[in-house]
């Protein structure tokens, strides 16, 4: 069955964080529910809809930015108390707006995740987890990587307290008291946790998670260990998941899964007979969806999916059928409610305009004075810079509260800027003066009106590292611009994994010297992405990485005074060696570097590249033929005379072209990496083979695995 939902806007509040909107339970049957939403201005707004107009129940005073909003109450009673976390403080409000709790968690950092269950309160700062019962400290845990979300299995059904932390290093950590019970490995950095059906399913153990790279999964947290029910890949490359809810929007008696993503996608999945999720509905808003809830808000009897977006729009996707509305030119037909709304807004606007004019005048006057200063408050930017596994490129998304006027991108390393279909801004590349000012990329994006969100793609080259800077100028007076910096790390295409294949032939790099654990950790952070900035607890640590482009791997194990790196790709080792020795020299630390090169590893890497390269070459060849074959087909009237191979190219031409378009410059990148491999192999032998690169390229142009291997071993 097709699900048909219509978009309705309700209200705009300030900028919102993830999971800051909840629906209060309804009073009586079939009545509309009230909405509680909190924003960065520190305001908690609770409102209900009456005749299409938002009627506030209460509004708290502004304060520090609110990071989470949860509902709670004594177990077994309606969960209608509102809890918000802001700074290091947790506040509680009744549904009438009376503040009944102020609790200072005494954390040095501000709270970024919170869960409430009866008298139990779970809060997390970046690395710290704290459990309070009746506001008394109970348990404490220090996580190895950043905590993105926290959840506790329902105590009523499970019978014990099982807190679960979603950590940036791709694991869910299941705790028992102050100790780690076990890790659950998930396919991406988890960003959000939610109980299935809001109660954890039959056993209360089923937990939904969403990841930063847009994957979705269901896992059962049993006493003995995790059982993965299903995982949903992100094939269409939608945005990362920010919020999940369970609600029966289809009205078939089974709860559906509602998902909100950071590219504005809202999805409804329903579970089929075998409990596998199937996409039922999709809608794209223009901004990232920070919270999602199912319920009944706008009109009795009509269920809806309620969302809040980054800029604070609370809007619904309702099952209520939309009447055809009149166009401009005869506004009489506009419903009376909307008319009232519009005129109220207009009046408000006029008042504001006057105030703004006064403000502007005052500001202008101050420019005459020689002592006054102009200080425009910092506007908030929601940004994300992540490595996409599929095409081994970085995606940068920027979101601002108001429309963006223009964006300047500057980089001090050579990177390629790729075109993104969703991005409608006009890009213009400026000439770079790389010698005098160290600019390798200067590009401006001039945005179309009403663009609050921009998505870009950047392709980096391993071994070349530096900073990418984005200057964002919104369309807001007085005009200001803010700069954001993103590190392009030396091994930028690597990604953390849970384990590696130990069978592969490996090259090793060993460092010894007078360095502390913190120092060597900071160097690793400098070289590799997805490593927590905080020095890990304990004496030594091991991280595993995978090259997203080639599939080669890296193991990093280090402690005070010693570090070991192991990789099947000799280029990876070479880059590490160069960067680490440079870093050590900078800090005047004496390093002993020793390395062991495994000759087999080179042919192993070449063999790993081979299928990719072959595939790309065949694809390129086929794509080249398409046009000529099509022409023959038109000329002869049909394609029957062609050999089957050519006919199949013609039949598949659409897919082939699509595939080819998806991976721009893939072949060039592979060639580049093979060339690096070649140079690095001989660099470790102390030979400079740069002169032979042209020969190598000649071999690559008539590629055959054996001849390439021979060339590598002969040269």
């Amino acid at each position: 069955m097709e699900l048909n939902l219509n978009h309705v806007d309700y209200l705009q509040v300030g900028v919102t964080s993830q999971k800051t909107m909840k629906l209060l339970p309804s009073v009586g049957r079939k009545a509309t529910q009230k909405v509680a939403v909190a924003d960065h201005d520190g305001v908690v707004t609770c409102f209900g809809m009456k005749k299409g107009e938002a009627v506030p129940v209460f509004k708290s005073l502004p304060g520090q930015k609110i990071s989470r909003l949860e509902l709670g109450g004594a177990l077994g009673t309606p969960q209608e108390k509102i809890f918000v976390s802001s700074g290091s403080e947790v506040r509680g409000y009744t549904k009438k707006g009376k503040q009944f709790l102020t609790f200072e968690a005494n954390l040095t950092e501000s709270i970024n995740a919170m869960h409430v269950s009866g008298a139990d309160l779970f809060v997390c700062a970046s690395y710290i987890y704290n459990h309070y019962c009746d506001c008394k400290d109970q348990d404490y845990y220090l996580s190895g990587d950043k905590i993105n979300d926290v959840l506790c299995l329902p105590v009523e059904t499970v019978g014990r307290i099982v807190p679960i932390l979603a950590c940036q290093d791709r694991v869910l950590r299941v705790l028992q008291g102050s100790d780690l019970q076990y890790d659950v490995e998930v396919p991406g950095p988890p960003t959000v946790l939610e109980l299935l059906n809001r109660d954890g399913g039959k056993g209360g153990e089923e937990v939904l998670y969403g990841t930063a790279d847009g994957k979705l999964g269901l896992v059962r947290i049993t006493k003995s260990g995790p059982i993965t029910s299903w995982e949903l890949d992100n094939e269409k490359k939608k945005g990362g998941v920010l919020c999940i809810d369970s609600f029966d929007i289809a009205g078939d008696g089974v709860k559906d899964i509602l998902v909100g993503r950071d590219d504005g996608t809202v999805e409804v999945y329903s579970l089929d007979g075998s409990n596998e999720p199937a996409l039922r509905f999709e809608n794209v808003l223009s901004e990232s969806v920070t919270s999602i809830q199912g319920g009944c808000v706008g009109k009795e009897m009509y269920d809806e999916v309620l969302t809040t977006t980054y800029t604070g729009w609370v809007s619904g996707l309702t099952t209520e059928p939309q009447q055809m509305v009149a166009g401009p030119g005869d506004e009489i037909k506009m419903s009376r409610e909307t008319q009232g709304k519009v005129s109220a807004l207009r009046a408000e606007l006029e008042q504001l305009q006057v105030k703004v004019l006064q403000g502007r005048e005052k500001y202008q006057q101050s420019s005459q004075s020689s002592t006054a200063v102009s200080a425009v408050p910092v506007f908030s930017i929601n940004d994300k810079f992540t490595l996409c596994q599929d095409d081994a490129s970085y995606s940068l998304t920027l979101e601002v509260q108001t429309a963006i006027d223009n964006l300047l991108l500057q980089s001090d390393v050579p990177i390629d800027l790729l075109d993104v279909d969703k991005n409608s801004a006009v890009v213009s590349f400026s000439e770079c003066d790389s010698e005098s000012n160290g600019n390798f990329l200067l590009a401006t994006y001039r945005c179309q009106a009403n663009t609050t969100r921009l998505e870009l793609k950047v392709r980096s080259i391993e071994g070349q590292y530096g900073t990418l800077q984005a200057y964002v100028t919104p369309r807001l007076q007085p005009k200001t611009c803010q700069v954001r910096q993103y590190q392009i790390k030396p091994l930028s295409l690597h990604q953390r994994t849970h384990s590696i294949d130990q069978e592969r032939p490996a090259n090793t790099l060993r460092l010894t010297g007078q360095f502390s654990f913190a120092e060597i950790h900071s160097w690793v952070v400098f070289c590799l992405p997805e490593v927590p900035e905080k020095t890990p607890a304990g004496d030594s640590i091991t991280f595993y990485f995978q090259n997203t482009f080639l599939g080669t791997q890296l193991e990093a194990t280090y402690c005070k005074g010693e570090a070991n790196f192991k990789s099947d790709n000799i280029s990876t080792i070479s880059i590490l060696k160069d960067v680490l020795s440079k870093e050590a020299t900078k800090r005047k630390i004496n390093l002993n570097i020793s390395y062991e090169v495994n000759e087999d590893s080179v042919s192993h890497t070449l063999r790993m590249i081979h299928p990719k390269l072959e595939y790309q070459l065949i694809l390129a060849k086929k794509v080249q033929l398409i046009d000529a074959l099509k022409e023959l087909q038109v000329h002869e009237g049909n394609a029957d005379f062609l050999i089957p191979e050519y006919r199949s190219i013609l039949d598949e031409s659409a897919q082939l072209l699509e595939e080819y378009k998806k991976q721009p410059a893939h072949l060039e990148r592979l060639y580049g990496m093979i060339t690096d491999l070649f140079i690095d192999k001989f660099k470790f032998k102390g030979q400079n083979v740069k002169t032979k690169v042209s020969q190598l390229l000649a071999i690559l142009n008539n590629y055959e695995l054996d001849s390439l291997m021979d060339f590598f071993s002969e040269a």
Binding site: G359, S374, L408, S430, N437
Partner: protein, 715 residues
């Protein structure tokens, strides 16, 4: 929401901008488009399978509705319409780089087949000015040519560069059509028959033009701009990162005024209001749009808008019916209105907050304020333009100096300007060590055009992450790359143009001050410049009698100066005497080269014919040998045939090189005529062009130079 009323998949690729609809039998409209392999297809769903295959026309075997027309040359433009006075059906006109074919599809005969040396990049059919018969006007390399139904050359003139687009439109509102020509040199020129009445400078190649209504017309540029002009006044324009493939005027919302329909390279179709450019409708194809036309394709008396994609998809849209009230889009108007108002409110609130927070900020800087980029309120940005001669390290340029009066620094400067940078913007981003309160931007305008520089400077402290954005607009005068200081060793220019004006010298001085970058201004019209681009001298001299002499070796510059001065002084007709010995000498060589290439061309054609005879003989002999079983001989013959084939290919290459060289020469001859014209204004200009053309036709080279010098036909 407006949906297509029919969708067709034609299975033939469609070349962009080569789509037309013709009623070849006078009744049934047929979609006609150029496709691969030098073919034109005609889709005729109305008379199925009645058409015998003969002459050029053949039935497609894949689809019975489609007939293919063999042109055997790459098609470069096509159109259909009524050409002859006594024909019932439309005539199909197909242009290629060498020929123009007028074809009667119904009778399956050629109407005429003409060789056109300047090629046909664009074609338009209709009445022009006072010329009695309907003309097929083609635009090629710098030339415009009009043929009547008998193939007689009725109209000829030259234009500044290669023609890309043509349209007929009553520009002057005199009841007669003028010809609008868009060309590679970014200009839209308006011809009243062969007199150039108006010139509109754009900033990219003008790829499409379309007549809206009255004197209003739409245009599209190669950089993704589309817009609407009413005569020389631009109503609106928008720029997209995609390219506009085809534009068409059609009244889609049935309000009695046509909209501008644009088909984009990413497959988008949108309809924009002709007054504001506001989008009233959009739809998407899966591949790039090839052409947008209109016709009564269902034969029910209603005209549809018909859009085609390059992959052969065709969609037809009916104009909206009355009850849609012009609301063609999916979204509800009320929602949009409320959303827009709320957005405005939000923006005003934010601006107000900016002022409030600003007034709280007190002088006395703390750490946090550094980040905010606090600057003294009286900071004002100073800009200055000056001409800089070439030095050893830098080319000659115009220097834009931007500086702050106090200790604040300029983090980056963005300059948005049209037509002088590679993209639309230029960025200066000094590296962190070189930050200062002064930035020098070298600007080198490639052409003599007046440019508005929209400058955005990011001003703040050295460690700020947020900056104030100063926006300033400066105008660069038309002739800015000319320096007042004169090198005494520079050789005197030999070329000059002399003419008389009836104006005071003060007016000329005024013109000089406005159009040149003069630091102090001048008070005498006798002045000498150094041209920074080419390095020659430019001497301007005015006598009391009103005789002005411009001395320069650059005939283009002389032309630009004459045109600029004439429009400043509002001179309608201006006769001038000119002499450019260097340029004329070059032209003389070019003319002899044209003759040479012509004779080579003829020789090669003869050789080619010989070879084809050989091929025929050889093939017969080889096949004979095969039938006789004489393998040795057969092999020999085929080897010979192979060699011959290779020779033919080589010869073809020579021929094509020769042809390209010839085209280049012809283009420069056409340009020479245009340049000679540009030294005069109004009637004398038209006379010069016509006289030059006659001289070339009669191969009277001496007369040609005489005309160019004296500017009159009378010997």
């Amino acid at each position: 929401m407006l949906v297509p009323i029919f969708t067709l998949k034609l299975n033939h690729k469609i070349n962009p901008r080569m789509v037309a609809i013709g009623k070849y039998d006078g009744i049934h409209p047929c979609l006609t488009a150029a496709t691969q392999a030098g073919k034109v297809f005609i889709h005729n769903p109305h008379t199925r399978g009645q058409r015998p295959a003969a002459h050029r026309l053949s039935q497609s075997t894949q689809d019975s509705d489609i007939s293919l027309l063999n042109i055997n040359q790459a098609v470069s433009c096509l159109t259909a319409g009524t050409l002859g006075p006594n024909t019932t059906g439309h005539t199909l006109l197909v242009g290629s780089q060498t020929n123009l074919l007028a074809y009667d599809v119904h009778d399956n005969t050629d109407v005429f087949y003409k060789e056109v040396t300047d090629g046909a990049n664009a074609i338009v059919l209709g009445k022009l000015g006072d010329i009695q018969s309907t003309l097929a006007i083609i635009g090629g390399n710098c030339a415009l040519q009009g043929f009547d139904y008998e193939g007689n050359d009725q109209f000829w003139t030259v234009t500044g560069d290669n023609v890309r687009s043509l349209v007929l439109c009553d520009f002057t509102a005199d009841g007669k059509n003028e010809l609008l020509v868009g060309s590679d040199d970014f200009d839209i020129r308006v011809f009243k028959e062969d007199e150039l009445v108006s010139e509109i400078a754009e900033n990219e190649t003008v790829t499409s033009l379309c007549h809206m209504h009255g004197s209003r017309f739409g245009y599209a540029l190669a950089n993704g701009t589309v817009g609407v002009y009413d005569r020389t006044a631009r109503y609106w324009r928008i720029k997209s990162k995609n390219h506009a493939m085809s534009i068409h005027a059609f009244d889609l919302n049935a309000d009695g005024v046509v909209e501008l329909i644009t088909g984009w390279s990413n497959g988008k179709i949108d309809a924009r209001s002709d007054r504001t450019g506001e989008v009233i409708f959009k739809d998407n194809f899966s591949s790039s749009v090839a052409g947008v036309v209109e016709g009564d394709y269902r034969m029910d008396g209603q005209i549809q808008l018909i859009c085609t994609s390059v992959e052969g998809e065709v969609r037809g849209y009916l104009p909206a019916s009355k009850d849609m009230k012009g609301n063609l889009m999916d979204a509800s108007v009320e929602q949009d209105l409320i959303r827009e108002l709320s957005q405005r409110k939000q923006n005003l609130m934010l601006e107000l907050r900016n002022y409030e927070d600003n007034s709280k900020a007190l002088p006395g800087v703390s750490e946090g304020e550094f980040k905010m980029g606090v600057i003294p309120a009286n900071t004002q940005l100073q800009t200055a333009l000056s001409v800089r001669r070439a030095t050893e390290i830098q080319r000659a340029h115009i220097e834009l100096n931007i500086s702050t009066p106090n200790e604040t620094i300029i983090r980056a400067v963005l300059i948005f300007a049209e037509g002088i940078f590679e993209g639309e913007s230029h960025v200066v981003h000094p590296c962190a060590q070189n930050l200062s309160g002064c930035v020098r931007v070298p600007i080198i305008p490639p052409k003599d055009i007046p440019v508005d520089l929209h400058i955005k400077a990011f001003v703040g402290g050295k460690t700020s992450t947020q900056f104030h954005v100063f926006e300033i607009t400066r105008q660069l005068p038309r002739f800015s790359m000319y320096d007042l200081s004169v090198d005494s060793s520079a050789t005197e220019p030999t070329g000059k143009v002399t003419f008389n004006i009836n104006d005071r010298p003060q007016r000329v001085v005024m013109w000089l001050n406005q159009n040149f970058l003069l630091p102090e201004g001048i008070d005498s019209p006798d002045i000498t410049f150094t041209a920074l681009r080419e390095g020659g001298l430019l001497r301007i001299n005015m006598q009391h009698s009103g005789e002005i002499t411009l001395r320069t070796d650059d005939i283009d510059l002389a032309g630009d100066l004459v045109q600029s001065l004439a429009s400043f002084l509002a001179i309608e007709d201006l006769q001038a005497e000119a002499d450019f010995p260097v340029y004329f000498k070059e032209l003389r060589t070019t003319l002899t080269e044209v003759d040479d290439f012509h004779s080579v061309h003829q020789k090669l054609t003869a050789a080619m014919a010989d070879h084809s005879n050989y091929v025929r003989n050889m093939l017969v002999q080889a096949e004979d040998a095969r039938l006789m079983g004489d393998w040795r001989n057969m092999k020999k013959r085929y080897i010979e045939l192979y060699d011959l084939n290779r020779d033919l290919i080589n010869e073809y290459k020579i021929r094509s090189n020769n042809h390209n060289a010839l085209l280049a020469r012809l283009k420069s001859v056409n340009q020479a005529i245009q340049r000679a014209g540009r030294l005069r204004v109004g009637k004398p200009k038209t006379q010069v062009i016509t006289a030059c053309r006659d001289a070339i036709k009669n191969n009277n080279i001496n007369a040609l130079f005489k005309i160019m010098r004296a500017g009159t036909t009378s010997s």
